[in-house]
Symmetry: C2
Subunit: 117 residues, 2 copies
DNA sequence: GCCGTATAAAACCTTTAAGTTAAATAACTG
DNA sequence: CAGTTATTTAACTTAAAGGTTTTATACGGC
């Protein structure tokens, strides 16, 4: 998976409007106008956000009369998940997640609780 | 988890230099100069990237003589993972991931390996 | 063919991101 | 204290992001 690809995906996700659009699309395919409705923002602005999401592969656009329906394509999110997995052990072992870690590794009862400090 | 927080995390991750820095820090704490070495980029540029990572909570900085060691803090990545989980079912059911989905839901043993084509 | 609706494109503005170089700060070393 | 190393700050440049308004395109209904 190319670096550029992750660049596009992460920067698409870095905007709250775009994440809200994805959340809406998780409920089902809809039109640009309906997507735009919750935002105090012009239509063209939404069109631009959709372009960013499309470039990241996160949405697919159809064509139905004068509407261009958008639907979610979550495949890129799986790539993000896969990238994240490399770091899983780090958040699992971080201070406030130590308990989760202990559950996961299933050590015996008397391993010492020593951590880096 | 506030929207701003995810904004910061995602935009910190949207740059390949910063992701490379995180990858390096996964190997252990190190200094700014050593972090800068692999990149054809001035020191101050790296300092800026570190500021972005720090603002996102992804690194922690120490102080040791004239060095300012950086270490990874992956806790924000867990927030990303949690956010992603909302979309898990979408990538699992998407066309080209159908096989994985079938494995996961534990259908009977003779589902063939057919994929879209 | 013309009108209304849905969407996109163009042109523009403002802010922020990412880099640069040069100067400043901080800490060790002799 | 002067010099060297590590890092940050300041000032600046360039380009991209995110918004605007105005204009164009595409389609369905009359």
């Amino acid at each position: 998976m190319s670096s550029d690809r992750l660049d596009n995906i992460f920067s698409a996700l870095a905007d709250p409007t775009r994440r809200a659009i994805l959340a809406r699309l998780a409920l089902g395919t809809t039109t640009v106008t309906e997507l735009a409705e919750p935002f105090r923002m012009s239509g063209p602005a939404v069109t631009k956000h959709l372009k960013v999401l499309e470039r990241a592969g996160l949405i697919i656009r159809g064509r139905e009369a004068q509407w261009r329906p958008c639907s979610l394509d979550a495949a890129p999110l799986k790539e993000v998940r896969d990238w994240l997995e490399h770091y899983r052990r780090f958040w699992e072992t971080s201070f406030d997640r130590l308990d989760e870690y202990l559950q996961e590794v299933q050590t015996n009862g008397d391993h010492d609780g020593q951590d880096k400090n």
